[in-house]
């Protein structure tokens, strides 16, 4: 979109603004400004943002120089008009747009409005605003309340306003947003804008920068401004941006490819950020509830309550102070440890304090499963459930449950951000989602990361005490995790080619069937699922189960949910599947067979997850896990080591049940 670019002169200094609803600004500054001038033609939003930023830097620098060190050279010319012209010229030149902005045209079109010329303003427009000004103010106030902590594209914000504000056609949403922005409740910016560079804090760069500033004089001493664009919504840099000719601004403007699924963020698209520029954090005061009491209340096992206490004390000590690095906490709980129960005390601690809490998980089905449990645990708090296609899109509940993708629509909204299964697809290895999770936390807030298999670098950070961490090494039923056993058998593709099942595997399967367990059988590739099901069905007799009770499912299977539910109600006793079911599915009495465990698709994290399907219930805590592979690999060894170390940690702390 295009906006009006204008400059306001106050008593002494100038300030540059852009406006998406010019009639609002025109009236707004009327009494405060000494002088005001605008470009007669609207300019693309991206350019306007850059120009405003540039002018702000120039003018503040000029001021500080005059006030402080008294440099001889005058930085700011007295005439703001000349400055504006220069800035527009500079920015347009720098962009190297294929359709250049005609600068002479711009220079010609500068209209000056001084106080005396007030009569020449379009009276109609002003009167129209005046008549509705009370109403518009009300809408703007509502908009700033509802948009607080959000970061929305124009279209989304307009939708939100039309949803939450009683239908009234007299106030245009853009005018309301502009008024809210002028009063400082919102920030309007371009969705793709130059990345603000923080000066390097340490290391070689820091010293290089300090030396550079010490040596040089003149304009070079100003901090380096990056010309690099970045998506303000998802944080993607230049490599994810694509520049295409845009009809809306008449320029080659960049759009972000990384967050395209959540609406298109581009250089000339308005982004509304519901965070005032200078946030004042009010000191939160509340009696810290004793952690022991809290954990008693939720009926946790000793291991769970120990971890919850550690996490709670982390939350309490971290509250209120702004830290850069150590604001996250890792809750490393083995599969089946009862993570959900553990988060309840944390959530309550924040909610009772009047804060906002977020539970984010990468997957939608987990959100749907968790929603009723949270509703039961926190019936008195307003809850919002967000996922692709959910109904309460624009609610601002105290407790928000969302898929990680939804987080890019928030900015500095939550006091506590809980990220469940941080190593699961799609959150794992997606810089966009990591950025979003970081962005949606308040500056004073903290993040708690939950995982059974945290990625390598986090494990290392935790062991070196760079990342505060609590481990839950035992399941809620207080039995050790089943340790995988090794089965040396040929690869799956070889088995399929020969269409035989080795005696070793068959024997193990028979044993599982005899003890009445259901069987998960994991294979690496989707294309192997169907043939392997056929192969097993041929051997069904020797396994003494019905061929119909052997089924397979994969990510390409359209009736996967049906199959999983029939696996749950025992009508399927052997399920061949891929990593798609490595987490989330809990079968009380089950054994796990992982074939081709040496395959590169199964890293040690996913091996641990798959092994974690066995022995989940208190009635059958000793399930069997088999790694079927011709060779023993690093990831298999790693996963076994991880399981063993958790078991030994559990016995060291005395969490394990005594054997009768």
């Amino acid at each position: 979109m295009k906006v009006v670019l204008y400059v306001v002169k106050f008593e002494k200094d100038y300030e540059a603004f852009f406006s998406v609803a010019w009639e609002v600004d025109e009236v707004y500054w009327k009494n405060t400004a000494c002088r005001m001038f605008r470009l007669s033609e609207q300019v693309p939003l991206g350019i306007a943002v850059s120009v405003c930023q540039y002018l702000k830097e120039q003018w503040t620098k000029g001021r500080s120089d005059i006030g402080g060190e008294k440099r001889t050279e005058p930085h700011s010319t007295s005439d703001g008009v000349e400055d504006l012209r220069k800035a527009v010229h500079l920015v347009c030149g720098k962009l190297g747009a294929p359709i250049p902005l005609r600068v002479e045209h711009v220079a010609l079109g500068i209209n000056e409005h001084s106080r005396g010329m007030e009569k020449m303003w379009s009276r109609e427009g002003v009167r129209h605003i005046r008549g509705n000004s009370r109403h518009l103010e009300e809408v703007a106030r509502l908009a700033s309340v509802h948009l607080a902590g959000r970061s929305l594209l124009r279209e989304e914000a307009v939708q939100l306003l039309s949803d939450v504000i009683p239908a009234d056609d007299s106030a245009s949403p853009l005018a309301a947003l502009q008024l809210a922005a002028l009063s400082g409740a919102l920030q309007l910016t371009a969705a793709v804008a130059p990345k603000p560079v923080a000066p390097p804090q340490r290391g070689f760069r820091y010293w290089a920068e300090r030396l550079r500033l010490a040596r040089l004089r003149g304009p070079a001493t100003s901090p380096r401004r990056s010309q690099e664009l970045a998506c303000r919504r998802c944080g993607s840099g230049q490599d994810k941006l694509r520049r295409t000719p845009c009809a809306a601004c008449g320029q080659a403007c960049a759009y972000c490819e990384a967050c395209l699924t959540m609406g298109r963020s581009r250089e000339c698209e308005l982004l509304i950020i519901g965070v005032p520029l200078n946030t004042t954090s009010q000191p939160t005061q509340s009696a810290t509830p004793t952690p022991e009491e809290l954990t008693k209340r939720w009926g946790l096992s000793p291991a769970q309550s120990d971890a919850a206490v550690t996490a709670l004390s982390f939350l309490n000590e971290s509250r209120g102070n702004i830290r850069q690095e150590s604001s996250s906490f890792l809750l490393w709980a083995v599969t089946g440890a009862g993570k959900t129960e553990m988060i309840f005390p944390l959530l309550e601690a924040v909610l009772s304090r009047g804060g906002r809490a977020l539970v984010a998980t990468p997957r939608r089905d987990v959100v749907l499963e968790l929603a009723p449990r949270l509703a039961k645990a926190f019936p008195h708090y307003e809850r919002t459930v967000l996922y692709g296609g959910s109904l309460d899109r624009w609610e601002n509940g105290a407790l928000t449950l969302a898929t990680t993708h939804q987080l890019i629509r928030f900015q500095e909204a939550f006091d506590l951000v809980l990220i469940d299964e941080l190593d699961a697809f799609p959150y794992h290895n997606d810089p966009v989602l990591h950025y979003a999770a970081d962005k949606c936390r308040k500056k004073t807030g903290s993040t708690v990361l939950l995982s059974a298999t945290p990625p390598q670098h986090m494990q290392r950070a935790a062991s070196r005490r760079r990342l505060p961490c609590a481990r839950v090494p035992v399941r809620y039923h207080r039995h050790p995790l089943p340790v995988p056993q090794r089965l040396v058998i040929p690869t799956v593709s070889e088995l399929l080619r020969k269409s035989t099942i080795p005696a070793k595997l068959l024997k193990a399967l028979q044993h599982s069937v005899q003890r009445g367990a259901q069987i998960f059988l994991f294979v690496p590739y989707v294309r192997q699922v169907e043939p392997f099901v056929k192969l097993l069905q041929r051997c069904a007799k020797s396994l003494s189960i019905q061929p119909e009770t052997i089924a397979g499912t994969s990510s390409k299977d359209s009736n996967r949910t049906d199959k999983v539910s029939s696996f749950r109600d025992h009508s399927i006793s052997l399920l061949v599947t891929t990593t798609i079911l490595e987490r989330g599915v809990t079968i009380p009495k089950s054994d796990v067979f992982i074939l081709d465990a040496h395959n590169a698709l199964f890293d040690s994290a996913s091996l641990v997850q798959m092994a974690g399907r066995a022995g989940r219930s208190a009635n059958d805590p000793f399930g069997f896990v088999f790694f079927g592979a011709p060779v023993w690999t690093k990831s298999q060894r790693g996963s076994v080591r991880q399981i063993r170390s958790m078991n030994s940690l559990a016995s060291k702390h005395g969490y394990l049940k005594k054997k009768d």
Partner: protein
């Protein structure tokens, strides 16, 4: 910062512009039915499964509109303003998704792929008639829609095609009315609604043969109306022949 030295020596993996997965070796065996090297190169970036999914219309059954099946519309129609038209693909579910990805979601990376697919239709058109085209143009969008979307998909495709095959692109039409989305209307109302939607931009570039590009052919009413307007605007000279070139035929 971790440095992965292995990555410096690894071959460059190009992700498929549509599904985003790395292209597999299997894609080499699927033939690309386009002669021009530039669009061929574009199509080669697609992964095997995406390339397999394209329902090319290699042999149109309807000689007029280029549909792969028998076409009742062309038989029923009494007056036709365009000469013939050719379409690249049938408009099935995957193609619908691709177009939505480009048109509505705004993934402009797909522009090249769709243009390359349109090149297939162009080559079929050249086979069907004597190729002596002078000009290529596209069906315009309403100004409001254009501002909303940021680009006119038909125009973009036409410009790409013009660059590859050495045609001269010029905008010849403008849209006067902002109509409801075509896909929400019935056949009858489409034909009636189209009337008076377009006007010719006064230009001296009119030539006896014009290729008109659009993304989808459903009933042909848009194409027919545009052809009518173009012919009307060019009455002074010899009769203009308008050929339709479309990406998909539903």
């Amino acid at each position: 910062m971790r440095v992965n030295i292995n990555s410096w020596f690894a071959s460059v993996k190009s992700a498929c512009p549509i599904c985003g997965r790395g292209s597999s070796q299997g894609s080499q065996s699927i033939p690309i039915p386009i002669k021009h090297p530039a669009p061929r190169q574009v199509m080669a970036t697609l992964c095997g499964s995406c390339r397999q999914a394209i329902p090319w219309i290699a042999y149109p059954t309807c000689r007029i509109c280029g549909r792969a099946e028998r076409c009742e519309d062309c038989i029923r129609r009494q007056v036709r303003h365009f000469s013939i038209s050719r379409c690249a693909v049938g408009y099935d579910k995957p193609m619908k998704d691709w177009l939505a990805l480009y048109k509505y979601r705004g993934n402009e990376q797909l522009e090249l792929v769709l243009a390359a697919m349109l090149a297939f239709a162009y080559e079929r058109l050249c086979e069907a008639i004597q190729p002596d085209f002078h000009a290529i143009t596209s069906v315009p969008l309403a100004p409001e829609r254009l501002l909303d979307r940021g680009f006119n998909q038909a125009e973009r495709l036409a410009i790409r095609l013009a660059n590859w095959y050495g045609l001269s692109y010029s905008p010849m039409l403008e849209r006067l009315r902002h109509t409801e989305k075509q896909s929400l209307k019935t056949r009858r109302s489409r034909v009636v609604d189209m009337r008076g939607n377009f006007a010719a931009v006064s230009t001296a570039l009119f030539s006896p043969t014009i290729i008109l590009v659009d993304d989808i052919y459903t009933t042909g009413s848009t194409l027919d109306e545009c052809a009518r307007v173009l012919q009307q605007a060019n009455q002074i000279e010899a009769k203009t022949t308008v050929y339709g070139l479309l990406w998909a035929r539903s």
